[in-house]
């Protein structure tokens, strides 16, 4: 299945319940107060959140063009961003972070597989030494996609794992190191500190590392996603988002709020559990797929 079909398939439900509703409303011509209120409700229902919804509606009110075109324009403008990754390091280090169960490990494997398909050599670092069988999980992926996994034992220092992985990559002249970190709630200070330590350690080995810090957010996440993004950004300099599980019925609207309030761009979307189910984010296609 090609990208468009996949994307459309993955977001079909979103489009139906969310933007079909909006289209219906907007087609009626001039937007009156009542319509705007219903529109607000629709955006809220998509997890966009009160603040960003209000902002979108205010913008829409100022538009003179066809409401559907205007809405599209507003959303594309909001979401548009550079999705290319900074891969200038040798090796380039990508740290994948986020709360528990959001899809980090799967995303690490997907990224590795796609980089390999582009001809890059990749090392995955099993820096989740806490969760039961997290290391085994990454190793299974490593075997499936034929990618080196650097791992220590359960309970080992995650920073030491990252250190070894980067050193390994350096000595073997590999292109990219992807670090799979343990799930952690942004509220846990010591765990956030642990993450900073991982980043400090790799920074000593390679200039500018980690070159990318990708925050993985589950599309089903509600308003807490904004809090997650805010704190992860503050603590570990997140460079972009990966929104996973968009193959479900969840709308992932919190990503709009995150972009609006924190200017964090979405870099990839996850639309399934296999390695090909990771797609680069494209605002135009995204909004087009949503509104078409």
């Amino acid at each position: 299945m090609g990208f468009f079909e996949r994307l459309r398939k993955g977001l079909e439900k979103t489009r139906k319940s969310f933007f079909d509703g909006i289209k219906q409303l907007l087609k009626a011509g001039r937007i009156d107060e009542e319509t705007l209120q219903e529109l607000e409700e629709l955006l809220i229902a998509a997890d966009v959140g009160h603040q960003t919804t209000t902002w979108i509606i205010e913008k829409l009110k100022q538009e003179r063009d066809d409401p559907v075109v205007s809405l599209k324009k507003i959303l594309v403008e909001l979401l548009e961003a550079d999705t290319t990754l900074n891969l200038t390091g040798s090796p380039s280090v990508i740290s994948v972070v986020g709360v528990n169960g959001s899809g980090k490990t799967t995303t690490v494997a997907k990224l590795a597989s796609q980089f390999q398909a582009m001809g890059k050599s990749v090392v995955m670092a099993a820096a989740d030494t806490f969760r039961a069988a997290a290391i085994e999980q990454l190793k299974v992926w490593g075997e499936r996609i034929n990618c080196t996994v650097i791992a220590h034992g359960e309970g080992a220092d995650p920073a030491a794992v990252a250190y070894d992985a980067v050193n390994h990559a350096k000595s073997k002249s590999k292109d990219i190191v992807i670090i799979d970190t343990a799930g952690r709630l942004h509220t846990k200070k010591n765990l956030m500190e642990e993450l900073r330590k991982i980043h400090r350690v790799v920074a000593k080995l390679v200039d500018g590392a980690p070159h990318e810090v990708l925050l993985v957010i589950d599309a089903t996440t509600g308003q807490n996603g904004l809090v997650q993004a805010r704190i992860f950004k503050e603590m570990v300099n997140v460079t972009g988002l990966v929104i996973t599980k968009l193959d479900g019925t969840a709308k992932g609207g919190v990503a709009l709020a995150i972009k609006h309030e924190l200017s964090l761009p979405i870099k990839f979307i996850g639309v399934g559990e296999s390695v090909e189910d990771l797609k680069p984010f494209d605002a135009n296609q995204f909004v087009e797929a949503l509104l078409s």
Binding site: A45, L185, T187, G222
Partner: protein
């Protein structure tokens, strides 16, 4: 940072003074604030709508109790309505068969496997002999994950041929009899509710095992879509309840209200950490204020009204704020505030207050007094100087243990910190102090 709902409501109702009734106008504004707060907590917007309508009707019809300010009365209405939906009591597990089967289902990554381990541990503490079963043949290393968890708590894990969920479950039923396990906790693979084939697998497992409990495991951080998956899992499997995980974070947990409302099924447990002992029975009234975005100010007010007159309560609170908060003050405050009930519960009720490990039972209080009495005045003023040998001396002198001394110091530190936060305006005491 953000104004709490409490503060917003106070503002709204402050504008009208000396009124015996809530007016339609201020109620509308208050209702709007509650609505936004519930949406912020990720309560499904349809549920919010219906909920708010009920609150409005009640608020318009209600007399203002003399002892309550309108904002507090309004909050009480909201809170009571919340608890109406969520139920008042904890809904326990109902295990009838031998062996009994508990099936855990849910979306990917919600916490099923971890919760399976937690439940097994919980059941063993209840005197049962549980067996864990992994029917997740899809996710890489899912079976290893459960096996590791089982091993860490010394509970058998069955995984059969590791290939076919149905065969695994069949084998597990047999193995349970052989091992004399009387309850099977069945971990299933995460799946989307719209994945018909995978949902069918769950139906098959259900038919095969006739579970006493089918619990859907839901992440507390989920947003508006939660009702869609919950309704679909319930439709296909007739759930007996929910377990909401990851409530140790700062998600407000509005999903609890939504799923109760749309399915009528209770939340039986909550997950509050990654470790296997981090499972708690769910008590609806304890979560209501969290969903609303404030501490349990209302019960504190109710309690205070009952136990103490308001003036005295305010004086106590003010004193708490002004005190240097030495260990002597601590001892004094423990005595006074204790009248409101266990200290920990008093502090739980304050908006934004962290969990405090103070158990001020009569016995504990005596212990605390004895420990503080055994300290020198300097130690009371500056507990930082307490080294190991001083602690040992104090423990001996008070007939307690060093552990007791440490526990007291920890409680004191937490409370002092809390006081600092109140002082610096990061937290607000009720009664507009």
């Amino acid at each position: 940072m953000f104004e709490t709902l409490q503060e917003k409501l106070l503002k709204i109702f402050k504008t009208i003074t000396g009124q015996g009734r809530l007016t339609e106008k201020n109620i509308n504004e208050a209702v709007r604030q509650v609505k936004l707060s519930l949406l912020e907590a990720d309560v499904n917007y349809k549920v919010v709508k219906e909920f708010i309508e009920k609150v409005k009707q009640k608020a318009l019809g209600e007399e203002v109790l003399k002892s309550f300010t309108p904002d507090q009365q309004f909050i009480k209405i909201v809170r009571d309505e919340l608890i109406n939906i969520m139920g008042r009591a904890n809904a326990p597990l109902e295990l009838k068969h031998y062996p009994s089967v508990i099936m855990l289902v849910g979306l990917q990554g919600s916490g099923k496997t971890t919760t399976a381990g937690k439940l097994a541990l919980h059941l063993r503490k209840q005197g049962r002999s549980p067996m864990l079963v992994s029917a997740d043949t899809y996710r890489p290393a899912a079976i290893e994950q459960l096996e590791k968890l089982g091993k860490s708590i010394n509970i058998p894990v069955f995984s059969g041929d590791r290939k076919d969920a149905i065969q695994i479950v069949k084998g597990a039923m047999k193995a349970a009899q052989e091992l004399r396990c009387n309850v099977l906790v069945l971990d299933t693979a995460g799946r989307l509710h719209i994945d018909d084939e995978m949902m069918k697998e769950l139906e098959d497992i259900k038919a095969l095992t006739n579970p006493d409990e089918i619990l859907m495991v839901i992440d507390a951080m989920v947003g508006q879509d939660a009702v869609n998956s919950a309704v679909e899992f319930d439709r296909r499997l007739s759930l007996t309840g929910f377990i909401v995980t990851k409530l140790d974070g700062d998600a407000r947990g509005g999903v609890i209200l939504s799923i109760n409302y749309v399915t009528g099924k209770p939340v039986k447990f909550i997950g509050v950490g990654e470790k296997l002992d981090a499972l708690e029975p769910f008590y609806p009234d304890r979560i209501a204020s969290r969903i609303l975005g404030m501490g349990d100010v209302l019960s504190l007010i109710e309690k205070a009204e009952k136990e103490l007159d308001r003036e005295k309560m305010e004086a106590t609170a003010r004193k708490l704020l002004q005190a240097q908060f030495t260990l002597e003050d601590f001892r004094e405050q423990l005595r006074e505030v204790k009248k409101l009930g266990p200290l920990s519960s008093v502090f739980e009720m304050l908006p934004g207050a962290p969990k405090i490990d103070v158990d001020a039972s009569e016995k504990e209080l005596k212990k605390i007094e004895a420990i503080i009495n055994s300290m020198t005045p300097e130690e009371r003023r500056n507990p930082r100087i307490l080294n190991a040998s001083r602690k040992l001396r104090i423990a001996k002198g008070s007939g307690t243990t060093v552990q007791d001394v440490n526990k007291l110091l920890k409680s004191y530190e937490q409370m002092r910190e809390l006081m600092q936060r109140f002082k610096h305006g990061k937290l607000k005491l009720p009664f507009g102090l």
